[in-house]
Symmetry: C2
Subunit: 188 residues, 2 copies
DNA sequence: AGTATAAGTGAACGAACGTTCACCTGTCAA
DNA sequence: TTGACAGGTGAACGTTCGTTCACTTATACT
């Protein structure tokens, strides 16, 4: 499935943020004729490794920057054997809904540790100014910013940490939701 | 910093996986002359919102698909005010080292719960066949696949869960490391 | 009002692109 | 040996791209 040509195209694409022209592919694949490229591209298209625009321009296949999803981990890898009938995802598409409203923060402190969010984790936050009971939010309370569970009951609104060593925060004056937690990312 | 034009370009790029031609930008920006586009592009280049190849072809600025990093969360957002002097990352670049060797799995069970990896989390695994003491690995022991801490001492090799309800696994016959845990991703 | 400066129109042009054509290998089967 | 076919070469062609030129319209400042 994945051949030499596609790897070269992928690395060209990720390095240059665009597909190569036929002339560039001549160098890339070590051909001496553009027509050789032309015929090769036809095959790649048939194999769904690349595609063409409505304008006839070459564009990367959907799966270009994507990561295969192989299954569940305790269930084991599917025979580790051939990874064919699987899905792929682009991490960006998977994690980012409204791009303009999304940003990343690094977690400090351990107030959300029981939600399995620890110091050093990166979080993706989507800006918004309201939340529902039980969601994890970034909020500004009485002038300070913090990440907590958002709680709401009988018109009362407060924040709760996920750590029994900390106490709930009942806003004296103001509680402004800045954004919702959309994802946690931990690098090893 | 971020204007109408860049948003349109970004959405065109993420939709079409390439930059628009000048003719397409005419429609996109509602111009009636290619030269209007030409002048506009010049400005976008000066502002570093897009760039040009060594071949004179338009390519997206590096920050195109990227997410801004605003700081730490307990420290609060930097004045929420203007988000200028910050970094941005592409999630793919941030998380994926060796693309061909990376895949994704969904976590089942709670054997790594004390490492704050819970059921339903997605993990990024990079294939490799050895690991160092203390790293989290996907391994095959006596025919079964599992995610655990890899332990090694005095030429002995075994796996340890991050959950005191489970016991370490001492391989009867074989212990093959399949890959290392590179990242944990949890969606909300 | 007058005049710079910026921004848009419309037509033209050379260059480079993707495509096509004709031809030249190798390789494998009949 | 012959024929068919896939794969590569080299040259040619029409299209469309990015760019340029000359001109017009809007905005702002004196």
């Amino acid at each position: 499935m994945k051949n030499e040509y596609q790897s070269k195209l992928e690395s060209f694409f990720s390095g240059n943020r665009r597909m190569p022209t036929y002339s560039e592919m001549m160098k890339l694949f070590d051909f001496k004729s553009k027509n050789a490229v032309f015929k090769l591209v036809k095959k790649l298209i048939d194999a769904n490794l690349v595609a063409k625009d409505h304008l006839g321009r070459l564009v990367p296949a959907k799966s270009f920057g994507e990561v295969p999803i192989l299954g569940f981990v305790t269930a084991g890898l599917p025979a580790s054997a051939e990874e064919e009938l699987l899905n792929t995802v682009s991490l960006d598409d998977m994690l980012i809904g409204k791009k303009d409203l999304t940003y990343m923060l690094e977690v400090e402190g351990d107030s959300m540790i029981e939600a399995h969010i620890e110091k050093g984790d990166m979080i993706l936050v989507e800006k918004c100014n309201k939340a529902r009971d039980g969601e994890i939010v970034i909020a500004e309370v009485d002038g300070e910013y913090t990440m907590k569970y958002f709680k709401e009951k009988n018109d009362k609104v407060w924040l709760e940490p996920a750590n029994k060593n900390y106490k709930p925060i009942y806003p004296r004056q103001s509680l402004n939701v800045i954004g919702k937690l959309k994802a946690v990312i931990r690098k090893y």
